[in-house]
Structures are given as C-alpha cells and as structure tokens.
C-alpha cells in the first residue's frame, strides 16, 4: 500500500509556483500558520496562505463579526492583522521552521500601499508567492473598489508586478458581473496565477433586536453554501484566461476539491472547513490520492481539467 501510494504524483505547477500537492489553506482561516500545528502536520500541506497583511497593523471591524447561516458563515473581520513588519519579524521565522510553501496575502487602501508591500516582501527569504487580495468586501475604502473594476485591477497588479519577482497570485471577488473580465485585466497586468473566490457579499439582521447581526452591517459569506457559486466563477475564469487558477469556496472534503480540479483549477484552497475540522486539508490530500489510485490515475495532472462536455 505504501509503495503504491508513492506512485501517485500530486505535484502541481502553477506557472512559476511549484507545490508538493494541490491543497492549500486559505487566507484568514489559518492565522499565521502555527495555530493548528499541534493538530496537524502542516508540512504536509500544499501551501499556507497567511492572513491578509497591510503595511500598518489594523484593529479590524467592531464586533459582532460572525454570523452562522444555513451552510455558511458570514464574517466581517475587517482585515485585522499584525502588519507586515510584525509578520516578517515575529511570525514568519517560526513558520519557516516547517517545510511548507508560504504564500503571503496582501492588501492596501491605495495602489501605493500595494507596491510598498510588494517591495517589502520581495526582499524577504522564504516566501513562495504573493497573493494580492483585491477582493475583500468588508473594508469600505480600498478592497472592493479595486476588485470590481478592471482598470483598478490592472493598476494594482502592475504596481505589485513591478516591485517583485515573486510568483504573483491575484485573488478575485465573486461580487462582479463578469469575473472573466477581471481575470483578463489581472493577467494583462502580469499576474502569474488567479485565485478565486473570496467571500460572497452577504447580510443578516436580528428580527428581535431589529439590528444588523454584524457590527459592520454587511459581511462576506463562505462555507459549503457558496461552493456551487465558486465553481461557476472558477469555470468562467478558466474560460477567459490561460494562466493557472486556484479554486476556493466551500470546499469541505476531497470530492469538493476534485470538482474544482475537474473543471480545470490547478490547485485549491480550504477556508471555513478548517474551523469545523482542522484536519480537513490533510484528509483532502489523502482523499485525492485514494481517488486517483482507485481510478487508475498516476498523476493528479491527468485529472485536472478532464471535464467532458460533449454528450
């Protein structure tokens, strides 16, 4: 059995980024990488995308910040983070003790902040890629504006591109009419990879107190509820651009992950499911391996994009 397992190749290549397997953990759902390390062997992961970083530390939105919905979670964290310096000095060295690709998720309120972040992180050793978050729907200024306008996307992505040689992932928001158009803009501006989706814009209110359930009034929906929406968006992107795509949204088990790979995503990220079952990501890696084995496939790349459309 162990011998057999070794035969299945799970390595994937996304342009300049090579991953030991296609299963990463999504930004904002795995902290700075170490919180879950007593529960799982994090060096088994395809990659860890750390919590979104800004130049300065940010306090985030007023609570309440979470609402549970049917099959989903609405969050309005407001991109609370320790700031890029604290991350580089305090968090990253600990994370680098584990052998796992580290991807840094960044966001700014201005184009200049994005290029500044790129500049800072470009010089730091041990980072496998940058993921540009232009898609967080929770921050009133910044975020949402960039991610829903192709021109703004181009500006942000090229400013980051000019300031780093690191592999560049652009993470798209689903809250747009035509996500393919956004993907094209990012590719033209030099992104190596597209990841999608970030959370879906959502809201909840309390009929008894007659107040919004979130301090920020609106938030972003994640979890199993959004999986079919995410798959459709990934499909749209794949039909619009040639660069590798990372599928994100509601993935809770290996079947879900395989759905994204089947339509053509080269890798996936697991978000909300980490909260429910911290072992999800490592179990998905094993699940993909067994699925490939029992289907007589020796390489995950044979499965990726093998969706049959005729008939």
């Amino acid at each position: 059995m162990t011998a057999k397992k070794a035969e299945v190749n799970l390595k994937v290549t996304l342009g300049p980024l090579s991953l030991p397997n296609p299963v990463m953990v999504a930004s904002g759902t795995f902290g700075y990488g170490l919180e879950y390390s007593s529960l799982i062997n994090i060096s088994k992961l395809g990659g860890i995308v750390v919590k979104g970083l800004s130049i300065e530390p940010r306090p985030g939105n007023p609570p309440p910040r979470l609402v549970e919905t049917h099959g989903g979670l609405i969050n309005a964290i407001g991109l609370e983070n320790v700031g890029v310096d604290n991350f580089v000095n305090q968090k990253l060295p600990l994370l680098l003790k584990h052998e796992v690709p580290v991807i840094v998720n960044i966001f700014g309120n201005t184009v200049e902040e994005y290029s500044e972040l790129a500049k800072i992180l470009d010089g730091v050793t041990g980072i496998s890629a940058l993921e540009i978050n232009i898609s967080c729907p929770n921050v009133k200024s910044g975020g949402i504006v960039f991610g829903t306008d192709p021109k703004q996307i181009q500006k942000v992505v090229s400013s980051v591109r000019e300031n780093t040689g690191l592999p560049l992932i652009t993470k798209l928001t689903p809250n747009v009419t035509d996500i393919g158009e956004m993907a094209k803009a990012a590719v033209e501006a030099g992104t190596d990879i597209i990841s999608a989706i970030n959370t879906v814009s959502a809201m909840a209110v309390d009929i008894n107190s007659r107040k919004p359930k979130l301090g920020n009034i609106v938030g972003g929906l994640s979890g199993p509820a959004i999986k079919p929406i995410a798959l459709k968006k990934v499909w749209n992107i794949l039909n619009s651009v040639e660069v590798p795509v990372i599928g994100i949204g509601g993935i809770s088990n290996h079947e879900d992950a395989l759905e994204f790979l089947l339509v053509g995503a080269r890798a996936v990220q697991i978000g909300t499911a980490n909260f429910i079952h911290p072992k999800t990501s490592v179990e998905i890696i094993e699940g993909i391996r067994s699925f490939l084995e029992s289907n007589g496939l020796k390489d995950v790349n044979e499965f990726i994009g093998s969706l049959k459309l005729d008939s």
Partner: protein
C-alpha cells in the same frame, strides 16, 4: 498550549434542571490538559449542518479518570441535537482552549462568585480549584436564574462551604430580581469582596463591569461571543479592549475571547 482533537465517548447525558443538561465525556488528552475556565469546541454531529462547532466551558474536570463534564442549556439546533445523544455515543471535541481562571491575588480571602443562568457552569471547576488551595477562602456565590426551576446543583456549593445567595427574575426562589441587584445591595449593606469571578450573559457582565469599576474591585470575568474557530485564527470572537479598560482609559483594538479569554482579568493594578 497543545490542542487536542478527540472522539470523546459520552458517559452520561442527563437533564439536571429546566432546559439544562449535563454531559460527561471520556476525553483523556483534553481532560488532563485542561484548567477550569477553559472551554472546548464541540462538533455536535458528523454533518455540515449546523456548520460550526459549539463552545462549552468545562464544568468539572476529572484528570484521574480522563473525563470532564459540561453543563449546557438547550437554546438552538446544536444544543438540541446534543440533548438527544446517549451514553455510548461519540462527539468530536477540540480542546482545551483559551485561558482559564487564575488564582486570586495573595491578599484575597473573601471571594465572590457571580453566576448568571448557565454561567454557573465553570464555577464547579473553579470551586474545586480553590478548595485544593492551602488558603481557606471564604466564598460567596451569587447565582441568578430566570426561575427556580432553572437552578442547577446549588447543594454542591453549600456542601463545599460557600454562602449561597439565590436570585430569580420571577421571585420563585431567593431574592426577587437580577443577580446584579443582589450583588450591589449586599456590597453596599454589608461587605465588599477582596476578589470576584463572574460568568453570565453579556448584559449582566456589563453591569458587573460597572459595579467593579465603581467599587474599584478586582476580579475575573468569563466572556461569551460567537466563535468560528476557537483557536485564535479567524479573529471573529473579538471583544473591544475598551470593555475591560478602567474609568479614564480608552483603548483601541480587540481581544480574542478564544485566546486572550474567555477569562479576562479586571481592575488589575499590577
């Protein structure tokens, strides 16, 4: 602080008061690493509905036989599902989590426990902890509930030499009114505590906070907020630092109830 994920076997699960259940679980790793005031995240069933784990404080810890108890109130889907489980069933549990109760400062002898509703849960374990200490604390429990029927195991505190003050919103038992009314009244009329521990619903905790500030008291408060991860990664359970700030201070930023809490120190002058 290592965290464990265990398939815990339910040893018993029984109704102990109106709407309140007690569950005993066999979870050796969690039980032996846990402290009173800490909590665990329960996956109520092996499905994605309800989606999130549910947090519950340890009510008693029994390290020797690798078990712990929780006391829980049935309020929604998750707790309803839990109340239908039987001895022999298994639950997937993540713990121990957060910072539990700390010992009172050296000088303290008169200790008050303020428990609102199901907020009584962690006091059983806290009492065990304090009674193990060489100092013979004088402990007074203020315990409020909506109605007498909802009171859980008051005799435990009596048997362990606590003064027990019951309050009910409807007057069916003890003092007729809110626990905070009873606390404030006792505080003015007779004595102030050297230290207090408080656990209960948010509005009660807000009044306790004001009372502590007014009377310049020190203590610890166990807080509840919505949680997604319970381990500090989602930043969803945050509470304003300002909640715990002194009279004049205004602090920006937030504390994670699941990591910096759930037990927070109040009026700490050190």
């Amino acid at each position: 602080m290592p965290i464990f994920q265990e398939k815990a076997r339910i040893l018993k699960n029984q109704r102990v008061a109106q709407g309140v259940w007690e569950m005993r679980l066999q979870a050796p790793q969690i039980a032996s690493a846990a402290y009173p005031g800490q909590f665990a995240m329960f996956r109520v069933r092996d499905e994605l509905s309800p989606l999130l784990r549910r947090p519950f404080s340890f009510s008693r810890l029994n390290t020797a036989d690798g078990t712990f108890d929780i006391l829980y109130k049935v309020v929604g889907q998750g707790t309803r599902i839990m109340s239908a489980l039987s001895a022999g069933d298994y639950l997937d549990i993540l713990g121990p989590l957060g910072r539990g109760f700390r010992l009172p400062p050296k000088h303290a002898r008169e200790i008050w426990f303020l428990a609102g509703g199901i907020g009584i849960a962690p006091f059983f374990g806290l009492l065990d902890m304090l009674r193990q200490h060489e100092i013979g604390f004088n402990i007074t429990l203020f315990y409020g509930a909506a109605t007498g029927e909802e009171l859980v195991r008051c005799e435990f505190f009596e048997q362990n030499n606590c003064t027990v003050n019951i309050c009910t919103d409807d007057g069916t038992c003890g003092f007729h009114g809110f626990i905070t009314d009873s606390v404030e009244r006792t505080c003015t009329l007779t004595s102030v505590p050297d230290y207090f521990y408080s656990c209960g619903p948010h509005p009660m905790q807000q009044r306790v906070m004001e009372w502590a500030k007014c009377n310049n008291l020190q203590g610890q408060m166990s807080m509840e907020t919505m949680m997604a991860c319970g381990v500090g990664v989602c930043l969803g359970c945050s509470i304003s630092k300002n909640f715990f700030a002194g009279e004049q201070k205004i602090e920006t930023g937030y504390l994670r109830v699941c990591r910096e809490g759930p037990v927070f120190t109040i009026g700490d002058r050190t």
